[in-house]
Every structure is written in structure tokens, then in C-alpha cells.
């Protein structure tokens, strides 16, 4: 069947059920389902967003402007999620190679013609300004899953080599911008696909062992500020007013929050500007300071719920592509959460990874929500298995 036709029929059905209140749409759950949404996932995401706005209001110095701005971004992201949820997985799969290749072309264009911002070339202006690397966050796991869809699972070595190239090209292009954080996340999203596809443990551990010399090679390619971040992590007190300042202040913020926090908008670390990047990358520290361990665990629970639901959707998926893609999107989200919280608490080096759905700003929010749209689509478009 023509895929576009399917989409149009689907949308038409949605339209009808919305306006005429027929069938399943009498209850709220029915309405959600008829919109191709997944109820639990939607509730989890909305709770995270609401909590995020609450923290952001305090972190941004009670700026209504920022809150409205962020709410608008969230709105756009939710619309994106809704639209993507209407696209059946088969449709997505067919367009995957084109999306991937366009993404690569755009990345090359960024490196040659992109706008420079904060010492890096990340933005491309083709009518709208955007970061092609954001699109690659979805395109890479999609491409990897596409590649494995028709192939033998677990993948053979030759296929793995092909996939390695598919992952490495965008990763290196983005690392060159330079945007180390994003490039590592994109590599992770691809790697997660092949691990889920059953890549042998011998190979996984073998590659992990190889990563030590690999890290040394990477070190030589790193920019000075990136090297500094790693060194600072190892001993933040060595440069308390310089590179170590962020980590020291965020640890003070979180630690001083204690069990129940200093109360909303009462975080002295955040409000007296000791905490840098407090409404973007370090917003988790504001949460820790004002809401304490209790608040932090609440957010982590919401995240875990969303990730768990994502994995459940992956397990329920009916074809290789959907399964691998859903698993990768869910687990990449976990990587986001882990890298950001571990960075803010001083476990891993400071890499520019925002706290998903909570940090201010970002095209990243649209990408994330589009990813969840894919999850929802996979779940609502699953076919019954022939037994």
C-alpha cells in the first residue's frame, strides 16, 4: 500500500474521531490512542516538562520571559512528537536512507558554510537556522536499524564493519565542529542499536579493551578546552576559580540542598550567581539545591518511568527496525540523563549535554520529542503477529 495513502487515511480517521466523538474517543484514553499517542509515555513526559518548567523558573531568576519562551519551545516539540507519531514505522524506515544521506550532506555544509557561535561551527542557515547534528541524533539510530532490518541477527562481522562506518562518519563530522558532547551521544545511539541487535559479548568487551588506546588517540584530537575539562574533573580543586569552578559550585549547590532542599526559589547558590550555566547545563544542581534529594529522586523516577516505558514499547515492537530504533531512542535518553547528572555531580567530565526536557533552550527538545513520537508511532502502529 502506498505509504502516503496510509498516513492520509490515518489522519483522516484521527480527524473524524476527534470531531465526531465516535468509537474509542469517548474516553480520554481512547482519545489519546486514536491520536496514535501512548498514554503512559505522554503522561511521564508531560510531568517531566512541568517539573522542568518549575525548576527553570527559579533557575532563570524568576524570569517569566524565559518560562514563556521555554513553554513555546515545548509546545513546538510536542507538536513535532504528535506529527511524527502519525507516521507509520514502515514509512519512516523507507525514508531512512534519504534522511541519513541528507543529514551527512548538511553536516558537510555546516563545516564549510556554517555559522560560528562560541568557537564552534554548528549552525546552518538555510531559510531557518538549525543544527544538522540534531537531526543526526535520530538519523543515525534509524540508519543503523534500517541496515540491520533485512539482515541476519545477530549481525555478522562484515555488517558490523559497515555499521561502524555509518556511525563513524557523522560522529567525526560533528566532533570536528567541534561538538564533542553531541558526537559522543550520536555514536552511543548507533552503538546501542548494534548491542541490542545481539552483537557478541566477546566483541563488545574486545572493543571496550581497545577503547583505552583509542582514548589516547582521541586525547590528541581534543581541543584544549576539552582536555581541560577532563583534567578538571580529576582534580577540581586545582583551579577553583577557573575550570574547576563549575564543578565545585554545583557540588556545593547539590550538597547544601540536603534531603529536602532549601525550598523553591531559595537556592542561594543559584540566586547569588555562584552557579554558572544554572538554567542550561547545570539546572540539575538548582533542582538539587532547592528540592533536595527528595526532588532529585522524583525527577529521576520520572525519567526511569519514561525509559522503562520506551523499552517496553521496544520489546512489544513487531519488526527488527522498530524494535532496534525504539530501544536505541529509549536508552539514548538514559545516556542523556546519566551524562548530565553525572557531570553536574562531578562523576564524569563537563561535556555540554543538557538535562533532557528540563534545561533551557535547544533544538534538542524538538529532537527528543520527535524521538518519543517515533516510539509512540511504533507502539500504536504495531501489527498483530501471525502466530
Amino acid at each position: 500500500m502506498n505509504t502516503w495513502g496510509t498516513v492520509m487515511i490515518r489522519l483522516n480517521e484521527t480527524h473524524r474521531s476527534l470531531w465526531h466523538g465516535r468509537g474509542q474517543s469517548r474516553s480520554f484514553a481512547g482519545l489519546v490512542r486514536s491520536l496514535n499517542m501512548d498514554g503512559p509515555l505522554l503522561v511521564g513526559l508531560l510531568l517531566i516538562c512541568a517539573f522542568g518548567l518549575l525548576v527553570l523558573y527559579s533557575a532563570a531568576g524568576k524570569s517569566t520571559y524565559l518560562i514563556v519562551n521555554q513553554a513555546v519551545r515545548l509546545g513546538v516539540a510536542i507538536v513535532a512528537m504528535f506529527v511524527v507519531a502519525q507516521l507509520p514505522p514502515d514509512f519512516l524506515r523507507r525514508w531512512t536512507p534519504l534522511a541519513y544521506i541528507s543529514g551527512i550532506v548538511l553536516l558537510v555544509l555546516v563545516l564549510t558554510k556554517g555559522d560560528v557561535g562560541q568557537g564552534a561551527r554548528r549552525w546552518l542557515d538555510i531559510g531557518v537556522r538549525f543544527q544538522p547534528s540534531e537531526a543526526m541524533k535520530l538519523a543515525v539510530p534509524m540508519m543503523t536499524a534500517w541496515f540491520l532490518h533485512d539482515r541476519q541477527i545477530p549481525p555478522r562481522l562484515a555488517h558490523l564493519a559497515m555499521i561502524a562506518i555509518l556511525i563513524a562518519v557523522p560522529t567525526l563530522l560533528i566532533a570536528k565542529q567541534p561538538d564533542l558532547g553531541t558526537s559522543l551521544l550520536i555514536a552511543a545511539s548507533g552503538i546501542i542499536v548494534i548491542v541490542l541487535a545481539g552483537m557478541s559479548f566477546r566483541l563488545i568487551f574486545g572493543l571496550a579493551a581497545l577503547s583505552v588506546p583509542g582514548a589516547l588517540v582521541l586525547w590528541n584530537f581534543m581541543q584544549d578546552y576539552q582536555k581541560q575539562r577532563v583534567l578538571t574533573l580529576l582534580n577540581p580543586d586545582s583551579d577553583p576559580l577557573g575550570a574547576g569552578y563549575n564543578i565545585i559550585q554545583s557540588k556545593i549547590a547539590i550538597g547544601s540542598g540536603g534531603l529536602f532542599g532549601k525550598g523553591w526559589t531559595n537556592g542561594s547558590q543559584a540566586h547569588l550567581e555562584f552557579l554558572p550555566e544554572r538554567h542550561t547545563d547545570f539546572i540539575f544542581a538548582v533542582l538539587g539545591e532547592e528540592f533536595g534529594l527528595f526532588g532529585v529522586l522524583t525527577l529521576l523516577t520520572l525519567y526511569s518511568f519514561v525509559i522503562g516505558r520506551g523499552l517496553y514499547i521496544a520489546v512489544q515492537a513487531h519488526d527488527t527496525y522498530s524494535r532496534l530504533l525504539a530501544g536505541s531512542i529509549s536508552l539514548t535518553f538514559l545516556v542523556y540523563v546519566f551524562v548530565n547528572t553525572a557531570m553536574v555531580t562531578g562523576i564524569v567530565p563537563v561535556v555540554g549535554v543538557p538535562l533532557p526536557l528540563v534545561s533551557f533552550g535547544g533544538t534538542s527538545m524538538v529532537t527528543l520529542m520527535a524521538g518519543f513520537g517515533i516510539l509512540m508511532s511504533i507502539h500504536s502502529h504495531r501489527k498483530l503477529l501471525p502466530h
Binding site: Q152, P154, G198, A253, L259, L272, E289, V296, G308, L331
Partner: protein, 629 residues
């Protein structure tokens, strides 16, 4: 095997995926557990440590500078005070383009263009949130002018503060001294905890020597500051609680000076801007009544800060207004020392009250045709010791010098305090010089110059040669003569007063001992002769003293200007003026019950009795209540 791909076994593939998904979940749980463990560590176990750190972060201690003590003259009139003034400040972190901002400030004449590099350096070196003072006192016009232009100058603003003010300008500049901005050498010397927040410190005079009393104790204000150290309004109750109590600043002690404003003014005016010094003191206590060094300068310039070129002009002025001649200027005392040497000669038997010399206008040592000239070429004729002082006959002293000898001269001059510091309560006093055989031995290299020559004794007998004394020392010597040998330490400060309690610590006169003179008649003779200098028929200063409504005594002196430094350039007329002799005079009054002594020196004034004596007389008139008005 098929050609394309092996048949996918969906069931086993799904099983494999579920296995991997479970494994991933386990890894995910482990990762989250690591983060949670870290959070528990930070928020539960190390909570107190971080709570303390966050408290220390936000609470800053700001020093509140104390108000500097005031200074009053002996009649309670204000000599040094603190006035509110607006100062121009720049906060480096708030300025976009420092060089451009300074340039534009110079363009509207708020700072001098010469100072741009200096301010740029200070602004870049310090803590970026700490204000840098560009100008300590703005005029009303400057404030109005800047207020209009303020939007153009981000990070520059004016702020009220107290500025040291000397209402009498240059009148007390050398006695009281001045305060100036703290510099790095001050900061090394001073207790930095006490001086945080203080911008100025005493640099010279009483301001410097009594710095410890004048400064006061800094207070502390606890405030909530943001990461850049700037004070922020504490608008939530949570931020305000548990702030430690503030400690108020204790003002510095007030100082009551022995100086008399009227006397100081009379002395200053009488100098008429000539180079020189006047020191007046109470011989019975050592209290300094007037201490003038001219030309002077406005000490307010140092308190408010001046441009590099302004300071350069003051420093390079050939008249050296910054130089405190009263305590640091050393001059050959000339005939001023004749009363002391007469006492020495009488006491040691080198002469007696009746011995006469015949002055023919010059003196020669046996076997030497060098003529030691008297100031009066035709000679004084027959003179005894009284006449020799009253008429300042040089030949008489030349004659007795051989018998008196340099050792006795040194002995008596030293007993009067010459050649060593008087111990005045300001810093930087010079000891002057009383030469001796030992001094020559120690201070000359050349073998021939190490010897003491008889000719040197001869010229030493009229206070020339190597001998040097400060105006303060001459006043002190006059006081010792006036009191028949009592020596007191000269001092400027009478009392130090706590402005809060009103408690006064009075500084008692310090008696340094009496000079033992065996025969009181010797005193009578010498002091009688000094009286006749001013009020006798042949006295050198009778033109000044005769007809006065009170009895007084004095002694004039003329000091030869030995040389002028070769690197100094003067035009010829000026050179001639600067080669003239210095005019010196000491005096005391009333004669029977001395209450004031005055020492005057007028550089290149030529005549002690003609130029310096009228100044001394004017000061005494004022003090004793005989001034015209």
C-alpha cells in the same frame, strides 16, 4: 541458504532482543544507582560540609572604614577634618572597553590624560569587582557635568565618602603633614586587617607619626554578596537569617596640638613667601607653638589626589615647597651659637667676665698670614664677653677659640642638644652636625683631611665650617638658654582624645635635664648680652627690639652659603640671589620670665638682624598680646 538473506527467525530474534533489553535495563539501573549513590553522598553524608560552604559563599565581610580623628590647635580650632565629598569610581568588571572609557573621561576633563596608563594598570590588576577611585573630590560642576553624561560611561559612577580636609591649606602642611592614598609600601607596613576599607594613610608630619591613634578601628558589615562579590539586596527571609552581627567602626582619636593658629598665621605671613622656616616654642614645656616652613603647598592636593603632572610640578619646583625646612633643613648656625660658646669659655676659664679684646676687624693665627675677618671690617674696638655677644664680635671668639679648643666647644654644643635629634614627635628630623676631632677622623678618607686643624677651630667659634643645625634645634637651644639650662623635648601633640568617651590622654612635657653651669653670673652675663642684642645701645638687632613694650633677648646669625649644587640651573640674577648668606635669628621673651622662644631662618636673606629678627618679633608680639590688632 538463499541468495539474498537467510530467513529471519522472528521468534529467536525477539528472544535475543528481550535478553539484550533486560541487560540494558540492568546497566541503566546500575548507572542511575551510581548517580543516586553520588547524590546521597553529597546531600546526606557531606550535607553539612556543603551547607557550610554555601553559607561561606554568600556571606561576605565588608570592612567599614573608621572615621579619622580630627586635629585641633591649642585653642580648639580645627586644623584637620573630614568632609563629605563625591568621588569618581570605576568598577572594572562593568566597563566594556577600559581604554576607551578612560580616554573619554579625559576628553571631558574628569581625569588627566597623563594618568590613563596608571588607572588602566590599576583597573586591570585588582579584583574586578573592587572600585578604583579615579578622582577623590569632584566639584559641583564636575558632578553636574558627569550626571548628564553618565549613561555613556557604563561602570563609572560617583559615590559620597569622607575626604580629609585641611581648612587652612598650606599653613600647617609641614607641621601636621598630610594623608595620601595607600600605596603598596604602606600596605606592607600597616596591619592589612585594620586597613581593609581604608583608602588613605598619614604620609608626613603628625598625620604620619600619630597614624596609629588617628586611624581608628575598622568595623565589619556582613552582607550577602553574589559570585562577583557585589552586594545584593537580601529580599528573601531565608537569605537574611543567621547573619552574624555587624561590628561598628570606632572613630580615630582626636589630636590636640600645641600649635597656635594665630601664631602660625603670623609667622607664615611674615615669611612673605621667602624660603625659610620659623619655629616657636614654649621654653618651659617644649610645646611647639608655631612650626612653619615656606614656601608651602596645599596638603589637600594629596588628600584628594592630584595628577602626575601636578605632583611633578611640586616635586621639581626649585624652591622645594615639599621640603620641611623646619625639621629637615640643616644650616650653618653662624653667630647664633656665640652665647653657648661664651658660656663654655667662661666655665672652662678660656675667658672671664672682665677680659677684653681689641677688635681690629680681623684675626690672624701665629705664623699664618691668613686673615679671619670680622663681619665689621673696621672692627669693634675693645670688647668684653658681653659686648662680643651683643655686637656679635667675631674677633673676640677667634681669639678665645684657641684656648677653648674644639673639644670643649663640641662638649658644650652637644650638651645643648646640637648634633642630635631633638626628639620631636614627628618623623624625619635631621640631627645636624657638631664637628669634632673624632668626627673628622671617621668621616674623611684623605689622611690630611682626617686631622683637625686649628683654623677649623677658629671658624667653628663663629658657627661656620662643618657645623649644621636645623631651625628646630636652634629654637630648642634658644629655649635652653632662656630657661638657664632646662631642656625639654619639643613636641606638637598635647593630648590624644577618644571622641566617644571624651577621655584624654595628656602628653606631659618631657624634661631632658638641666645643663650644669657652675657660676650663675655666667648665665647673667650671657643672657644680659642677648638682651642687649635687642634692647642694648649697640645691639645688632636694637632696631627691632628697642621701644618694645616688653623685655626680650635674641641673637642674630649669618650663615655663608658654601656652594650650589652644580646640576642645578639658575639664571644669573637668581644665582646671585641664591648665593647670598642665610639670615638666622633666635629670640625669647619676656626676658625675666620667658614664655616663648622663636627661631627664624630666611634662606639667602643676607642679614639675621635685618631680615630674620622682625619675623621673630612679630611672632612674639602676637603671643604676648602686643600685636597691632
Amino acid at each position: 541458504m538463499r541468495l539474498l538473506s537467510p530467513i529471519k527467525d522472528h521468534h529467536s530474534e525477539r528472544r535475543l532482543f528481550i535478553g539484550r533489553a533486560i541487560l540494558s535495563s540492568v546497566v541503566s539501573v546500575i548507572l542511575l544507582a551510581v548517580v543516586i549513590a553520588r547524590l546521597v553522598q553529597l546531600q546526606v553524608f557531606d550535607h553539612e560540609l556543603f551547607a557550610e560552604k554555601s553559607q561561606g559563599n554568600r556571606v561576605r565581610i565588608e570592612a567599614v572604614p573608621p572615621i579619622r580623628g580630627l586635629m585641633f590647635d591649642r585653642k580648639g580650632r580645627v586644623i584637620a577634618e573630614n568632609l563629605p565629598a563625591y568621588q569618581l569610581e570605576l568598577i572594572p568588571e562593568q566597563v566594556d572597553d577600559l581604554d576607551d572609557t578612560l580616554k573619554r573621561l579625559a576628553a571631558i576633563n574628569l581625569i588627566s590624560a597623563d594618568d590613563i596608563p596608571r588607572f588602566a594598570a590599576i583597573s586591570r590588576s585588582g579584583q574586578q569587582f573592587k572600585p578604583v577611585t579615579l578622582k577623590f573630590r569632584l566639584t559641583d560642576e564636575e558632578i553636574a557635568n558627569f550626571a548628564i553624561q553618565r549613561p555613556r560611561f557604563a561602570g563609572v559612577d560617583f559615590r559620597p565618602r569622607l575626604v580629609r580636609h585641611y581648612p587652612h591649606g598650606g599653613l600647617f602642611a609641614h607641621a601636621v603633614g598630610y594623608v595620601g592614598a595607600l600605596d603598596t609600601s604602606d600596605m606592607q607596613r600597616l596591619d592589612s586587617a585594620r586597613y581593609t576599607g581604608t583608602s588613605h594613610t598619614g604620609k608626613t608630619g603628625v598625620e604620619s607619626s600619630f597614624e596609629d591613634s588617628l586611624h581608628g578601628e575598622a568595623g565589619f558589615r556582613h552582607l550577602i554578596a553574589n559570585a562577583r562579590g557585589r552586594r545584593v539586596p537580601a529580599n528573601t527571609s531565608e537569605l537574611l537569617d543567621s547573619l552574624p552581627l555587624d561590628e561598628t567602626a570606632n572613630p580615630g582619636f582626636n589630636i590636640h596640638l600645641s600649635l597656635d593658629l594665630d601664631l602660625q598665621q603670623i609667622a607664615f605671613d611674615a615669611m612673605e613667601g621667602r624660603r625659610g622656616a620659623v619655629v616657636a616654642l614654649d621654653p618651659t614645656t617644649g610645646e611647639i607653638l608655631a612650626l612653619v616652613s615656606t614656601p608651602s603647598f596645599d596638603p589637600n592636593l594629596f588628600a584628594v589626589g592630584m595628577s602626575t603632572s601636578q605632583y611633578g610640578d611640586l616635586r621639581d619646583d626649585p624652591d622645594r615647597p615639599l621640603f620641611n625646612r623646619a625639621v629637615r633643613g640643616t644650616y650653618p648656625p653662624g653667630s647664633i651659637i656665640k652665647p653657648i660658646l661664651a658660656l663654655a669659655a667662661l666655665e672652662t676659664g678660656a675667658t672671664n667676665l672682665t677680659r677684653k679684646s681689641t677688635c681690629i676687624g680681623f684675626f690672624q693665627l701665629p705664623g699664618d698670614d691668613h686673615r679671619y675677618r670680622d663681619w665689621k671690617p673696621e672692627g669693634h674696638g675693645p670688647v668684653d664677653v658681653h659686648d662680643a655677644i651683643a655686637q656679635s664680635c667675631d674677633v673676640y671668639f677667634y681669639e678665645i677659640s684657641g684656648k677653648l679648643g674644639i673639644d670643649n666647644m663640641h662638649d658644650y654644643l652637644t650638651r645643648f642638644g646640637l648634633g642630635s635629634q631633638t626628639g620631636i614627635d614627628v618623623l624625619g628630623e635631621r640631627p645636624g652636625l657638631v664637628p669634632s676631632r673624632e668626627w673628622k677622623r671617621n668621616n674623611f678618607r684623605d689622611r690630611d683631611n682626617k686631622r683637625w686643624y686649628h683654623g677649623e677651630t677658629v671658624i667653628a667659634s663663629i658657627g661656620q665650617g662643618f657645623m649644621l643645625a636645623t631651625p628646630l634645634q636652634l629654637a630648642s637651644v634658644a629655649g635652653t638658654l632662656a630657661t638657664r639650662g632646662a631642656r625639654y623635648r619639643p613636641h606638637l601633640v598635647l593630648a590624644v582624645e577618644d571622641p566617644l568617651s571624651g577621655a584624654r590622654e595628656v602628653i606631659e612635657p618631657e624634661w631632658l635635664g638641666n645643663i650644669a653651669i657652675g657660676n650663675e653670673a655666667h648665665w647673667d652675663s650671657v643672657l644680659g648680652a642677648m638682651h642687649d642684642v635687642m634692647q642694648g645701645p649697640k645691639g645688632t638687632a636694637r632696631a627691632i627690639g628697642s621701644g618694645a613694650p616688653y623685655q626680650m633677648a635674641g641673637k642674630s646669625g649669618t650663615a655663608q652659603v658654601v656652594s650650589i649644587a652644580q646640576d642645578e640651573e639658575y639664571d644669573e640674577e637668581e644665582l646671585e640671589e641664591r648665593l647670598r648668606d642665610h639670615a638666622l635669628f633666635i629670640s625669647f621673651a619676656p626676658f625675666d620670665d620667658p614664655r616663648i622662644v622663636v627661631a627664624v631662618i630666611v634662606e639667602n636673606g643676607s642679614s639675621g638682624s635685618g631680615v630674620a629678627a622682625p619675623i621673630a618679633k612679630a611672632v612674639m608680639d602676637e603671643y604676648l598680646g602686643y600685636s597691632d590688632d
